[in-house]
């Protein structure tokens, strides 16, 4: 165990250097973003800068707007005020820009949302073939590589309904990876899973983090936040209340609401 810790620390150090270098060109920039559902003000003045390779964990009570916020980043939800710039493209009503951004931003959902009428392999190759125009065989080869990476290659010909929840979520992660995204958004990826399956999904996410993927993760898995995140963000009532390095965040929370939340879940 100490061995892996040492290695983790060293790579962490390199990782931080890398972040310093990337500081000037954020991959995602959100400036003064607001969103309403009808009259309900879900997101209030969100400002956020994500630099390449950064790992951000977003937590907060339910209804705090954390899912809505990351869903705004690939325009699954529309924001009404402020600016969102992803990979140099501002999200507006221009559908072509939206599709461009979505192709570069992978998303993993709480309920997996695999396509039940397609095999696992077809689920994975659909995006590359139809969006990226990758030749079929090439797409299938890449898909098999990613399935191996999430340790599920032997299920390639099955249908989603034949897999367990944990397996389905790993397939969903592989499906996003097949698009070679620059950023991955995770919307409570383990909340719908049985306890014994959470670990297999988190392990895949940790692998991904170690390879330098830029990740925004909405989760209640505080262990994951502690070991993987560069920054932990606490949201409540549509605002980012507090953000800090995991160590500071968990050991010295500044805000009362953060303290209350942490006391409830830890």
């Amino acid at each position: 165990m100490p061995d892996t810790d040492g290695k983790g620390e060293r790579s962490m150090h390199e990782h931080n250097d890398m972040l310093q270098e990337n500081l000037e060109q954020p991959i995602i920039e959100v400036i003064g973003m607001h969103k309403w559902f009808g009259d309900f003000h879900v997101l209030k003045d969100i400002n956020l800068k994500v630099i390449p390779q950064e790992r951000i964990v977003i937590c907060g009570p339910s209804g705090s707007g954390k899912s809505t916020m990351i869903r705004c980043l690939n325009r699954l939800e529309e924001h009404q005020k402020g600016r969102i710039i992803v990979d140099g493209i501002e999200l507006t009503n221009d559908i072509k820009n939206i599709e461009k951004v979505r192709a570069e931003v992978g998303m993993v959902f709480q309920h997996f949302n695999l396509f039940p009428h397609l095999t696992i392999l077809e689920n994975l190759t659909l995006g590359p073939i139809w969006v990226r125009k990758t030749p079929k065989r090439e797409a299938a080869e890449a898909a098999m590589r990613y399935l191996e990476k999430v340790r599920i290659a032997e299920q390639a010909e099955k249908f989603p309904g034949q897999l367990s929840g944990g397996q389905q979520q790993r397939v969903a992660i592989a499906r996003s990876l097949c698009m070679n995204p620059k950023v991955m958004l995770f919307d409570e990826p383990t909340s719908a899973l049985d306890p014994e399956m959470i670990k297999e999904v988190l392990d895949v996410m940790i692998d991904l983090a170690e390879e330098g993927m830029t990740m925004l993760v909405v989760t209640h898995e505080m262990g994951f936040a502690k070991s993987v995140a560069d920054r932990v963000m606490f949201m409540d009532e549509g605002q980012i209340v507090e953000q800090n390095s995991p160590q500071e965040f968990f050991d010295h929370p500044q805000n009362d609401r953060t303290r209350l939340f942490l006391s409830q879940i830890l």
Partner: protein, 363 residues
């Protein structure tokens, strides 16, 4: 000892009174006093009704006789069918040319049969159909390879029924899917257009549409311009069936969870690709049973074209019955028609059931 008795118990047969014929009878027909009574009444009813029916249909009946011979019998005179088969099936299609609609129909059956196998659902299938349609059209209309031209006014009987139903459905399905998508559109203009269309069409009977197509529609056309009557009836049937299909497909679309759209969007798929690759394949599979229901009613509704003086298979049968020689044998003729319609409709339902099972196999 205990283990021994357990194995015995596992292999023991159920008591005799619960299995076999007697068991079945006890279980299903005589399990209490009221049901026993019902069983007896039913048996009595069958005994009254079935033997005379069998005598009428099979024993006292004539199958291949002249009309005169039928005058002296008590049973059914099935001879009306073989004696008039060419008129019932092909109506006013000129004598001596009737091999043409027959070949066209056989070709159609062959194509339908070939299309049944899902392995054949490839691009080549569309080409076969296109070729088949050209050949069928050529056969029916003539004017090529020395075949005399037969105007559509003379197309009648069973080929007309089949044509109106099949092309009605083939035309109505895509239109219905578009209408369903339009009705769910966020664009107010498209949405209201589709809603108005669907509700208008569903609000009137098919007969009124057929009337409009044959009586009103020509009034709006400039002098000298006219559309073929069969084509107009065909269009009316397509427009009618499309409105119903739209509502059925809309039901299927509503059954697709929002997560499917979101996942497709998140991959960067456009609206059209999301629909084509993700949503419609799932939605259309759900609506196979009600779609087949519409197909069946469209098939039967084609008999309404008599109202605009088209001679479908029902009308040609009626004409046969108005022949003094064969007057009075309407039970036989209509029974024959009923069997004909039933065979076609049953083929459709049984295929839809098979398709449902096949498409469900994977997940």
């Amino acid at each position: 000892m205990i283990t021994g008795s357990n194995t015995d118990a596992a292999q023991m047969k159920p008591p005799l009174r619960n299995i076999g014929v007697i068991g079945w009878l006890r279980e299903n027909l005589f399990n209490n006093l009221f049901n026993s009574l019902l069983t007896l009444v039913t048996i009595y009813g069958l005994w009254l009704f079935v033997p005379p029916l069998i005598r009428w249909v099979f024993i006292d009946s004539l199958w291949f006789s002249s009309a005169e011979a039928c005058r002296d019998i008590e049973g059914a005179c099935w001879s009306i069918i073989p004696n008039n088969v060419s008129f019932i099936f092909f109506g006013f299609f000129p004598e001596g040319q009737q091999w043409r609609p027959l070949t066209a129909m056989l070709l159609l059956f062959a194509l339908v049969f070939y299309s049944k196998n899902r392995k054949h659902w490839r691009q080549s299938l569309a080409i076969y159909w296109l070729l088949g349609l050209i050949v069928m059209g050529g056969l029916m209309h003539g004017g090529v390879f020395g075949m005399p031209v037969v105007e559509t006014a003379q197309w009648s009987g069973f080929p007309l029924t089949l044509m109106l139903a099949l092309f009605g459905m083939v035309g109505a399905y895509p239109l219905g899917v578009l209408l369903a998508l339009g009705r769910r559109s966020k664009l107010i203009g498209i949405k209201s257009l589709c809603v108005v269309y669907i509700e208008l069409i569903r609000g009137v009977p098919l007969i009124s549409l057929l009337f409009m197509s044959s009586v009103m529609f020509p009034l709006f056309l400039p002098e000298g311009v006219s559309f073929d009557k069969v084509l107009r009836a065909q269009v009316a049937i397509i427009l009618f069936a499309a409105a119903y299909i739209a509502e059925v497909v809309r039901g299927g679309l509503q059954a697709i969870p929002a997560g499917q759209y979101e996942a497709a969007n998140a991959l960067g798929l456009s609206y059209a690709k999301t629909m084509r690759l993700i949503v419609l394949p799932q939605a259309l599979k759900i609506v196979i049973p009600p779609s087949v229901g519409i197909l069946i009613s469209a098939f039967k509704d084609t008999s309404l074209v008599v109202i605009i003086a088209l001679y479908d298979v029902l009308k040609t049968t009626k004409v046969t019955l108005s022949n003094p020689q064969w007057m009075g044998y309407s039970s036989e003729a209509y029974l024959f028609l009923a069997v004909l319609y039933f065979v076609c409709c049953y083929a459709m339902t049984s295929y839809s059931r098979r398709l449902e099972k096949e498409l469900h196999a994977g997940h």
